[in-house]
Symmetry: none
DNA sequence: CACATAATTTACAACCTTTTTACAAGTTGG
DNA sequence: CCAACTTGTAAAAAGGTTGTAAATTATGTG
């Protein structure tokens, strides 16, 4: 996301200054925490945000606090993002989460190494 | 809304200098407070106006004053705006209110994942 | 593979905010 | 002074937000 606080791609539009988010032209109603979470993630597009950083910045929680609150909020956010939820918000196992720009799904390409090709 | 103090769309027309508001060509009779509220909101189209700002600017109330006056006036205003009341004046939970331009409702698009499409 | 750890998911309860209704006091104009 | 209108408040009802618990599923490691 740029420093203007705007993000836009084929499906998703985020306007941080105006606190507006749309998916496929459809306005999304986010709660404050959901919005803060998406804001923080998308403002750092492509960067991995560790759990403890998110919990600190958004909740003010220190490391000692054991909670699943972040996970649940991630879930709610993904759900509201609909079809694309999982594609925009990636889980980095054991570390945190990352927002990534939408990428058109590509057909998978098979590769058969000539080295191991069966001989007729 | 522009700096001219005019707002107009498919259904609603607001003329601040002349203090005239119409919905679907029908003149609306607003009380002073209702008008001030709509004026302030519409003059800041798209912007979230926090409760405390509205209460300060329109009522001169400081933060300490606990009152539901704003909510009740919002209600009366929405009611006079008729069918579109809720669409023009959005509630930002825990924050305030926002005036937004009318948006034609869009038809929802169904999506059938090819992965789960029934095979004929 | 078995185990430990992490994340996902669902459901729920507590808490807080807004909405709605009704009423009473205040105001205005004839 | 009366009638109609405006305004603010109280209180109940409705609704939204948030964190947690707990069961389930996924992931990584030896």
């Amino acid at each position: 996301m740029s420093t203007t606080g705007l993000y836009q791609d084929e499906h998703l539009e985020i306007n941080l200054p105006q606190a507006m988010v749309s998916v496929d032209e459809q306005r999304l109603i986010l709660t404050r925490k959901e919005f803060e979470l998406l804001a923080m993630l998308s403002a750092n597009e492509g960067e991995i945000l560790p759990r403890n950083v998110l919990l600190d910045r958004i909740w003010g929680y220190s490391e000692e606090i054991r909670t699943r609150t972040l996970d649940v909020h991630i879930r709610r956010l993904r759900k509201k993002l609909g079809l694309y939820g999982d594609s925009y918000i990636q889980t980095i196992f054991g570390v945190g989460y990352r927002f990534q720009r939408f990428r058109e799904p590509r057909a998978l390409i098979s590769y058969q190494s000539p080295l191991f090709a069966a001989t007729a």
